[in-house]
Amino acid sequence: MSSQISTTQVPSKPQIPKIKIGWFSFSCCEDNTIVMTEVMNDHWQEWKKLFDFRHARVLKSNNIMDSFDIAFIEGAMASPEHIEKLKDIRSRSKKLVAVGACAVVGMPAAQRNTFTEEQKASIDYLLTRFGALPDVKKVSDVVKVDVEIPGCPMDPKVFLEKVNALVKELRG
């Protein structure tokens, strides 16, 4: 049976632990998530060996919130809960990467920040009802950001360059 331990086992090289990844979406259109899954088309075989997707709601159901080597943050912060969650992710992560325009500069998720007084008055009851922040914030307004990948959506080439650089750094 394949599950039996062989007495003639060849000593294997010690396994290098996989890089623990968290992928989190806040207030945004999740376009970077889609781009990431498209980049995966060409890189899934190496990612399967290299990355442990511990928390990525788009990819899996059993998501684990412990510690991350790289946490990717997509989207802007629209509520006090978002702020708390982002701070929590930061505290668990060696590297934090802001991906896409909403995370990096806040827009367009933060477009209500630029509304006229009249427009603000017309949406105010919704903000109050759902406990939203008065102003939407970008990621670096709340926590330290190690790497930024701008774009709406992010550029797949830039994403790969930055990810590869981080992998190199983490692997020393």
């Binding site: 979406s25 207030s27 945004c28 259109c29 999740e30 376009d31 970077n32 998530t33 889609i34 781009v35 899954t37 498209e38 995966m40 088309n41 060409d42 899934w44 990612w47 399967k48 997707f53 709601r57 788009v58 990819l59 899996k60 159901s61 059993n62 998501n63 629209a78 509520s79 367009p108 998720a109 477009q111 209500r112 509304f115 427009q119 017309s122 949406i123 919704l126 009802r129 759902f130 406990g131 939203a132 709406c152 959506p153």
Partner: protein, 432 residues
């Protein structure tokens, strides 16, 4: 009274963030709330004051995965308001844009979101590379997605927030070399799509509940742009009636707190389209998917997944035909003087009928807008199906965990999009 409260927070493997609350009293489901976890970003409010030319790119940002559907619907609404009639070549390029979107998006849903349920896996990437079937599916999934992605890049500039399609035409055109590459790639993945259809034909998930279906059906071939809105009741709405249909049927239905409109709920999406228009599918699709097509029309919501797989095949077959038989030549974008008016754009997004309405002044400045998304229209049906699936499980005394998993599978069958839904689902908000 024996009461059970089921709550699913942050439903996984869907687009965007959703939750579900189900209340059961004495074995009967008394309340179902398919709710929103996302915060509004106020896209229709933010339309106001913008120039009409900026609206397709603006509304595209409602949703990453459906972005090119929003681009197409916004362009259609603007052209309707301005009275622009586009060239036959533009119509072909728009068909191809939709085929790129549908094949990429359905493949993401079927392989990455649904397939793990069929194999008892947590994630598609957990599939065992050593197992011949799972190894094949891993390659199939990423190859099919890739073919759709490359078609979108060729025709629309990119698969997310397309840059080539604009009001009045296209800014760039496929090269013969690019078209030939896409044709080769699509021919190469066709066997994978046939395997996909077989898997969803044989899938053990079923929930049969009679409902109504509605879709925009093009006049010529099976597709996603142009034509008439039809229902399986035999109702037909022509282009000139789209506005009154939106205002008198779709909007009241989508915003109703009661669970029905005109006495019945309805469903939009791949299942509705295949049920209503399978006869218009590409001849090669009809031939290769003949066995699967015998199952339609179907009232089994899990056949929505099978319908999606068949749509991928149709998109591939029609794209191969168009790209093989067309030489694209650069042509100028059609421009007309601005005028005040109201425009309606209706298209079939991957998840169903998408309505955009725009009101503009004589300078092309937007005064008002309306967007009605497929998931908003399917919300009532989703909630009714959840009731139907939960009650037998309660009667069998299944665990909350098991019931929760079954609810998630059902929700995934609809392929809801909460990034869109966050803005337009009726107000059963999660709140604080």
């Amino acid at each position: 009274m024996h009461r059970i409260d089921l709550r699913l927070d942050h439903i996984t493997k869907v687009e965007g963030d959703a939750s579900m609350d189900v209340t059961v009293n004495d074995g009967k489901v008394t309340d179902v709330k398919f709710a929103i976890v996302e915060y509004k970003r106020f896209f229709t409010e933010a339309m106001k004051g913008k120039n009409i030319a900026a609206i397709p790119a603006h509304l595209s940002r409602i949703c990453g995965t459906c972005s090119n559907a929003h681009v197409m619907a916004a362009i259609a609404a603007a052209e309707n308001a301005l009275g622009i009639e586009v060239t036959p070549q533009t119509k072909l390029l728009r068909k191809l844009t939709m085929h790129g979107l549908v094949s990429r998006d359905h493949a993401l849903h079927l392989y990455l979101f649904v397939m793990p349920d069929l194999f008892g896996k947590d994630a598609f990437l957990d599939f065992d590379d050593e197992d011949p079937i799972q190894h094949q599916l891993l390659h199939d999934g990423f190859d099919v997605k890739s073919a759709g992605n490359h078609l979108s890049q060729l025709v629309a500039g990119r698969s997310v927030h397309a840059t080539f399609p604009v009001i009045g035409g296209f800014l760039k055109f496929p090269t013969p070399e690019g078209a030939a590459e896409c044709v080769e790639e699509m021919k190469a993945v066709r066997p994978a799509v046939l395997r996909l259809i077989k898997i969803f034909m044989d899938a053990p998930l079923h929930l049969d509940r009679k409902t109504k279906y509605m879709a925009l059906i093009p006049d010529d071939t099976f597709g996603y742009i142009g034509g008439k809105i039809v229902t399986d009741n035999g109702e037909v709405y022509e282009q000139k009636d789209f506005r009154s249909h939106l205002e008198h049927t779709v909007l009241p239905y989508s915003q109703a707190s009661a669970y029905k409109y005109k006495g019945e709920s309805y469903m939009v999406g791949a299942l509705a389209r295949i049920n209503l228009a399978k006869d218009k599918l590409h001849p090669n699709t009809k031939e290769s998917a003949a066995e699967a097509l015998k199952l339609f029309p179907s009232t089994d919501i899990f056949h929505n997944n099978l319908a999606q797989a068949i749509e991928i095949l149709h998109s591939i077959d029609e794209s191969i035909e168009i790209l093989t038989n067309t030489v694209f030549t650069p042509e100028p974008v059609i421009k007309v003087p601005m005028r005040a008016g109201t425009g309606m754009g209706v298209i079939e997004a991957p998840r169903g009928t998408l309505y955009h309405k725009v009101v503009m002044d004589e300078n092309g400045i937007v005064l008002d807008g309306e967007v009605i998304v497929p998931t908003g229209q399917n919300q009532v049906n989703i909630e009714r199906d959840v009731s139907a699936i939960v009650e037998p499980l309660i009667a069998e005394d299944e665990s909350k965990e098991k019931i929760g998993m079954e609810i998630e599978k059902l929700i995934r069958a609809y392929d809801p999009c909460m990034s869109c839904g966050a803005h337009f689902l009726k107000v059963k908000w999660k709140g604080k």
